[in-house]
Symmetry: C2
Subunit: 201 residues, 2 copies
């Protein structure tokens, strides 16, 4: 820590504020964002659902399609249930992959979930669409990446689309406006702690 006099500190902070204001003044464009949360760390779905909370708090309508079971937890569901008019929640990932052990059925399920995402993207009622864990089914080649990238690129320019899941395809990250990678530094599961209410679900 560099020691500064109160006057030096005030001067430095004043400059910082001015620099910040100057940058912000150049940010004038409003547009729908394509947002990708990827990486092996936690928080991809949680941060996406946090954005859903923000959007519904602004009175916007949000569509959520869950490609993998359990992405929307019982805890979140209880809260979103209080805002039923603002959130359409489609848990499409029941019984996926390692549960079904039936690849043909899994591909059909992925297709069905994806068609729902496309319907929501095309529906002007939705300001935001969250395709939760879509990256997982892309990783398994259950859906063509090209088709997904084309659909999310060719959306209404004010619509926000959020896609989560590890191993986001390169083409999707290239098309995105905002990509955040969640990196696992330390995880309590490694030391025998189980999933707990309010944390994992």
């Amino acid at each position: 820590m560099i020691e500064r006099t109160p006057e030096q500190h005030a001067e430095k902070m004043k400059k910082k504020q001015a620099a910040h204001d100057k940058i912000m003044a150049t940010k004038t464009q409003e547009k729908g964002l394509l947002i990708v949360h990827t990486g092996k760390g936690k928080g991809k779905t949680t941060a996406a659902l946090g954005m859903v909370v923000r959007a519904i708090g602004h009175g916007k309508k949000v569509g959520v399609v869950q490609f993998v079971k359990g992405a929307m937890t019982t805890g979140e569901k209880a809260v979103f249930d209080a805002f039923r008019d603002h959130v359409t929640f489609k848990p499409m990932g029941e019984g996926f992959t390692w549960n079904t052990q039936d690849k043909t059925r899994d591909i059909a399920l992925a297709r069905e979930a994806w068609e729902e995402v496309k319907r929501m993207i095309a529906d002007p009622a939705y300001a935001m669409v969250l395709a939760d864990e879509l990256n997982i089914v892309l990783r398994y080649d259950y859906l063509p990446v090209d088709e997904v990238v084309a659909a999310v690129t060719d959306r209404d320019e004010m619509k926000h689309v959020i896609i989560t899941g590890r191993n986001a395809p390169e083409a999707l990250m290239e098309a995105a406006d905002l990509v955040t990678e969640m990196t696992l530094i330390k995880h309590p599961f490694r030391s025998g702690v189980k999933a707990q209410a309010g944390i994992e679900y």
Copy 2:
């Protein structure tokens, strides 16, 4: 993508399920977690507030102390207002640092916010305490890291504490159960897009 017959696929997925179940069976411990969200990427506060949503959805009580202005957005506030009995929200960071340009006052504000966090940690009514952007004031040396680490380490063993902000101190990460780093891969601000309702606030 490796091509497998449906039978090979079923066999592989069955093994995956069994391996997953075996690992989960060893996770039996329940305990309060010290969770740190750091890194330069987005989603640190959003994912923490997502955990707050989960916890209140389970009927738990959560305390949120905001060390830097604007961490709780108007969007989230509207949603949390519907769950007033479950969330105590203390926005302590009004007029911090580059706004005040008054270091002495900033340190006093940081102290006040921290004392509130300590009160909430000590209060059995709270199942979870979020010290949002606490890392920022630690980074500026407005609070002693040792004091913070000692207080969060010496808490009730079932209490969850979440601390967010870039540049988490090493000692805090060492004390934590779960550390996630949010890494910025791509950001729309760089291309002139302004902060938007439902995304940044």
